[in-house]
Symmetry: C2
Subunit: 112 residues, 2 copies
DNA sequence: GATCATTACCTCGCTATACTAGGCATAATG
DNA sequence: CATTATGCCTAGTATAGCGAGGTAATGATC
């Protein structure tokens, strides 16, 4: 269902600061109010795609726990892409709203 | 970009009354404020899909102009599907809103 | 110290689906 | 009679999200 919106979602999750892949998943789950519980098979390829596109930059880091993580950070281009996506989303959501908003002339009434 | 939302869009276009394929396209274009200008190769298969799923019913009709048209009309199931989709959309849109809404703690400020 | 859950990364392949590019037919227009 | 607009259709392609699998280290349980 989120085909075409994933990149925007991932970028949005990283807008508040760098994070590693696993963390991005949790960030998205939290901020979406549990609506988006994205599997790794979705996130990791997306992160790679975004990095290749120049929207993200990554570097390896070691947590205090000793675990290796790849930490992603938005680039300037990424920020611009996000705000573009955000504008697109706005138009998209408005269009959908127009489609089943304040329309449906002879709708309710008979709610058998 | 509207992957996964097309069915909902088509159903929404037919919520205000029956229409034929070509008309659905124009209806969608209008109501979306020109945001969605969907090609026939998108709409016709979608209509067939929706009819096969039992969300739409169609019958051939002849306009005054003499042209044959296939007119689609929502079924009871279609109406239910639409309202379900609508609810899903609501949650989806809210989730997106949560992702780049009232967040981004250290964002703007420096807008060099 | 063996077993298990959690964290953390990765990739291959499936599948669903929107769209491109074609084709067909009729009515109106010049 | 050629062109444009209306009106329908389908085959094939490309994309992308996701399931299923694999690897490895840490911490806890027994």
């Amino acid at each position: 269902m989120l085909k075409g919106h994933l990149d925007m979602i991932v970028l949005a999750a990283l807008a508040s600061g760098p994070a590693h892949g696993y963390g991005v998943i949790q960030e998205i789950r939290q901020r979406s109010g549990n609506a988006f519980d994205l599997p790794e098979g979705t996130i990791y390829p997306a992160l790679h795609r975004l990095e290749k596109a120049g929207y993200l930059a990554s570097h390896w880091s070691t947590a205090e726990s000793g675990r290796k993580r790849r930490v992603y950070k938005m680039t300037r281009r990424g920020e611009r892409a996000l705000s573009d996506h955000r504008a697109l989303w706005q138009r998209f959501a408005d269009a959908i709203g127009g489609l089943f908003g304040e329309k449906a002339r002879a709708p309710a009434r008979s709610h058998r």
